[in-house]
């Protein structure tokens, strides 16, 4: 007990970036150990593959969780349409950057470069967010939830609709590709271009260690996402550690009081909502569209609930907590269990076919069938794990990993400005 207290104290004394770095290093280490445990001669390449995939996943979830933290954690705007705003961002980018004269069978776009397409996608996500928020923000929080969850499904069904798959307006051809999806300039191909060009010595060095080229690209793409996370974190911390952030928190606590103190809360809510939606749009492109292809099936509402899970684990209201929550959720609860299940085939052979048989084994005091069943079905059972973790957290630590911290929203230090004349600061 005291040992864990001690560890926690030491962790809490770390600066925020140290905490995040430690977390990341821990995740990478676990995956490397796993790779070397099961990979044999392929181990270095397997480890690189693990690290690349987990970093991309973690980076994407971190952006999404930070965005949701601004909306829900800070402002109390209950947005359960995260997937929809991701889709708006990704589809706008895709339509803007898809080639104007595509190969036969593919959907035409505007053929713009990615550095135009991505800001365009973010802008469109922000605009759609603003439009969705306009009527709903005047209502209570639960109505915004209903509006956003419905909107996200409407968006998904709309891009899925055959009627907009290929359009021709004023002689310009474009479309969403309908259910078959749309191909566009791949963000990871851009990164690959840089890696294989400027970074070719790095690639050959990695090849020498037995790591394949695509895995190097994947790791670099993951690191690029982490850089985007860093940038988002920088912007968001400045945004919330300011009088602006103070009003957002006040809205979350009691909107009527905030209005009574002279703040036009509607403007603040719309701004916060639009900024969050823009970031969700960005994550939509970089995560779902990383390979240069998106389809409606990638924007199902489940992802919205994953992001909420990540934010609840991390502690809503804390930006650093959001990143840690995203890391915990995506790497430890989502990615790692699936890999564990894949790489313990020895147990699989004897695994029973269903849960009844697995539990029946317990009757004869033999836990073997249950263990084998659990391991072989872990990629499904991890959702049970996520549920158990969420229930545990909500019951025992409702403020999440870092939500308990007192992070006053101000741009400067808050200590008493002059030497106290009526009593010390020592309390």
């Amino acid at each position: 007990m005291s040992a864990t207290e001690n560890v926690r104290e030491q962790l809490e004394s770390l600066p925020d970036y140290g905490l995040v770095a430690l977390f990341l290093a821990g995740i990478w280490l676990i995956l490397t150990v796993l790779a070397f445990a099961v990979g044999g001669p392929q181990a270095p390449n397997l480890a690189a593959g693990f690290i690349g995939s987990v970093t991309v996943l973690l980076g994407a979830y971190a952006i999404l969780t930070l965005a949701l933290n601004l909306q829900w954690g800070y402002t109390g705007l209950f947005n359960i349409g995260v997937a929809g705003f991701m889709a708006v961002g990704a589809y706008t980018t895709a339509i803007l950057t898809a080639p104007a004269n595509p190969e036969a069978g593919a959907v035409a776009g505007f053929g713009l470069p990615l550095w135009v397409g991505i800001p365009g996608g973010m802008l469109m996500a922000a605009i759609v967010g603003g439009l969705a928020a306009l009527p709903a923000l005047r209502l209570r929080a639960d109505y915004l939830a209903i509006v956003t969850v419905a909107l996200s499904e409407i968006i998904r069904l709309f891009v899925n609709w055959n009627g907009v798959a290929e359009l021709s307006l004023f002689g310009v051809e474009f479309g969403t590709g309908g259910a078959t999806g749309i191909s566009f300039e791949s963000p990871s191909a851009v990164v690959a271009g840089v890696v294989n060009g400027v970074g070719s010595p790095l690639v050959s060095a990695a090849n020498g260690l037995g790591v394949s080229g695509p895995n190097v690209v994947n790791i670099v793409y993951g690191l690029t996402l982490l850089a985007v996370v860093g940038g988002s974190y920088w912007v968001l911390s400045r945004l919330v550690n300011s009088p602006f952030g103070r009003v957002l928190k006040a809205i979350r606590e009691d909107e009527q009081v905030t209005q009574s103190l002279g703040k036009d809360t509607r403007l603040f809510k719309i701004k916060a909502f639009m900024i969050g939606c823009a970031l969700m749009g960005l994550a939509g492109v970089l995560f779902r569209g990383s390979a240069g292809y998106i389809s409606p099936a990638q924007f199902r509402p489940t992802i919205t609930f994953y992001v909420f899970a990540a934010l609840i684990i991390g502690g809503s209201g804390s930006n650093t907590g959001s990143i840690l929550g995203a890391a915990t959720f995506s790497a430890l609860l989502f990615y790692l269990p699936a890999r564990l299940g894949e790489f313990f085939p020895s147990l699989r052979g004897q695994a029973p076919g269903n849960i009844i048989e697995a539990i029946a084994g317990l009757g004869s005091l033999d836990p073997g069938p249950l263990v084998a069943y659990t391991v072989s079905n872990v990629s499904t059972l991890r959702f049970v794990l996520i549920g158990v973790v969420l229930i545990y957290i909500i019951q025992n630590r409702p403020q999440g990993l870092l939500g308990h911290r007192n992070e006053p929203a101000a741009s400067v230090g808050l200590s008493r400005p002059r030497a106290a004349d009526g009593g010390g600061d020592d309390e």
């Binding site: 550690n241 300011s242 009691d254 009574s260 103190l261 002279g262």
Partner: protein
């Protein structure tokens, strides 16, 4: 106070009116508010003189809080007008009224519980440049925000010291006691730099020592020219501190005047004792 209605002059025509107030800061005229079939405020009219400490009393359900809510934009009145500082402000949203200097406290203190006491007070000052998202993010502009913020911090500490809750500055407001919350609510509302403050039962649940303190504070602030309109059930406080008292009953103004006038008014006594008027 010279703006107080003279008791003798109007004694024979109860209810007295506050028409004697020449240039009222707040003027409520024929205010009505209906909730479905219930008429909570039924044509209330009164005036509040600048710099005065006016009391608004009446039995439970007389429509005092609804009147407050209609004046401060929480409710949209069904009829009637509210004029503040010479302009019609009927139905304006609370933030516009607050920006013009008309603010209120709530009957049950509504602290922003997951924010610190200092944050609660720092929220209130008007026109903070850092309330613009762009200003708080962009490197060049943020410097100005920080300069302004240092002043806000300093003022906030001074306000907390004034209300003697500075030792709680870094606590979450949710962990304060009932009386401390009332103090915080006053501290916060006064940081908006108001002209007139509507206090909805600021002394309910406050112990006598703290009550004296709060009333002292209000007196100090009146010296600086602030106007107060007070809803309160403690008759002693009303009678000994307010130079003008408005009595409401069944949604209407029943009587007006100074403490002596009100105390000797049979209809007020009847209303409080539950008789029909």
């Amino acid at each position: 106070m010279s703006e107080t209605v003279g008791a003798e002059a109007v004694r024979e025509d109860v209810p007295t009116t506050s028409d004697a107030v020449d240039a009222p800061l707040l003027e409520v005229d024929g205010l009505r508010k209906e909730f479905g079939g219930v008429t909570a405020v039924d044509g209330a009219s009164f005036r509040v003189a600048p710099g005065s400490f006016t009391g608004l009393i009446g039995p439970n359900g007389a429509g005092k809080s609804t009147t407050f809510n209609c004046i401060t934009g929480i409710h949209d009145p069904t009829g009637g007008t509210v004029r503040f500082d010479g302009t019609d402000v009927t139905g304006l949203p609370p933030y516009t009224l607050a920006q013009r200097g008309l603010v209120r406290t709530f009957q049950i203190a509504r602290e922003l519980s997951e924010m610190t006491v200092l944050e609660n007070v720092m929220l209130a000052p008007p026109e903070q440049s850092g309330e613009s998202a762009l200003h708080s993010v962009l490197p060049g502009l943020r410097d100005d925000v920080q300069t302004a913020e240092r002043e806000v911090v300093e003022d906030a500490w001074a306000t907390l010291e004034f209300f003697e809750i500075d030792h709680l500055a870094h606590e979450n407001a949710g962990s304060l006691s009932g009386g401390q919350r009332k103090l915080l609510e006053m501290a916060r509302v006064l940081s908006t730099d108001p002209e007139m403050v509507l206090l909805d039962e600021p002394l309910a649940g406050v112990n006598p020592t703290l009550e004296e303190k709060l009333l002292d504070r209000i007196d100090t602030l009146r010296q600086d020219g602030l106007t107060f309109l007070l809803v309160e059930h403690d008759m002693d406080v009303i009678m000994s501190h307010c130079e003008h008292i408005i009595v409401m009953h069944q949604g209407q103004v029943l009587a007006e005047g100074d403490a002596d006038t009100i105390q000797s008014d049979d209809r007020v006594l009847e209303a409080y004792l539950g008789g029909d008027v």
